[in-house]
Amino acid sequence: MSGDARALLAQLRDQFLDGLDERLDHLEQALLRLADGDDWKERFDAVYREAHSIKGLGGTHGLHLLSAVAHALENQLETLAPPLPAARLDHLLAHLDLMRDCARQARDGGDESPLRAALARLQADRPQALLLEPSQALAGMLTRILTDHGFQVSRHEDGLEALKALLFRPYRLLVCAGHATTLGGLAVIAALRAQDGPNRRIQALLLTSDAGAHPDLPRRVRLIPRGPELPQRVERTLAQWRAGERLPAG
């Protein structure tokens, strides 16, 4: 019984692999249609379900690298909102190319390590931003803006926790509230500047409702007043910095 089941499972795995290129072609078309912008929710749900399905089936068939790439795609999709920027579309499509390579490797055999390295590169392709913001609503809005500018965003509500993360892992951008639990944004920046860590010279946006209280900002820190125009100001600053090549393209 077990031997029969194993043979049938192997057969199902082969069928899945045989049909995967076609599924990925359909998924690619669906992603391109997503970029058109119409019927976003319906199209997005279809794309997400397909990525989710490939992740689940890949893992169930023991194709763990394929499943990991689909999982990475699923994570990327979870941060998407319309309209879909071209840079992000290219990044999403790169996941499909890697899944095709994984399928080929699973069918034909060969070394898996170059594919693992490619997945690591894909995940590292996006610069990291750390967001220190206690307000969930504002954090959601800022995450969307940063994501659209190509960043992968890690959010913290607690200044000390944010500082711990910043002391050990390089980030390209810090966006921080003036006031946060345990440590405010300015204290975090000051602590970073005083250390010889990976983010000593990090570019930062300080979001504060008390603009007059910070006449002497450290270098590479831009103050953004908290208020109704905050999202537009953040957008504008990121665009200016990108144009001046002070931030990496996403």
Binding site: A5, D45, G56, L57, G59, T60
Partner: protein, 129 residues
């Protein structure tokens, strides 16, 4: 003490249904009523003799949580033990599922060779010693 023999399995993904059916019937020895969505499951339930339902969470239309609510409103499903199968659940989600009355969660992707044992283990936990 009742042995677990009859299952209801609901998943919108045809390939996943094929693997789970194989794992539960051929390897696990269960009799499984397999459904592709919530409405199909609700229609099949009266004749299924199911002692336990395995529900996928992410499904178009009626998702697994909505299906659980709909099952609870039927005579056959009012007290039917349910296991959610999901690739998305974090610890908080799993606690929510338990609060909703689920017996437990089986993570997707699952190992087909171990699925039946996982189901039996969760079933055993619910039975009095």
């Amino acid at each position: 003490m009742t042995d677990l023999t009859h299952l209801l399995y609901v998943d919108d993904d045809a390939d996943m249904r094929a693997i789970a059916t194989l794992a539960l019937e051929q390897l696990g020895g269960f009799q499984v009523t397999v459904c592709a969505d919530g409405p199909q499951a609700l229609a099949a339930l009266p004749g299924a003799r199911a002692q336990l339902a395995l529900l996928d969470v992410v499904m178009p239309g009626m998702d697994g949580l909505q299906l659980l609510a709909a099952l609870r409103a039927t005579p056959e499903g009012a007290h039917l033990p349910v296991i959610f199968m999901t690739g998305q659940a974090d610890a908080g989600d799993r606690e929510d599922y338990l609060r909703l009355g689920a017996l437990g969660t089986i993570a997707k992707p699952f190992d087909p060779m171990a699925l039946a044992d996982q189901v039996r283990a969760l079933w055993a936990e619910r039975r009095p010693a």
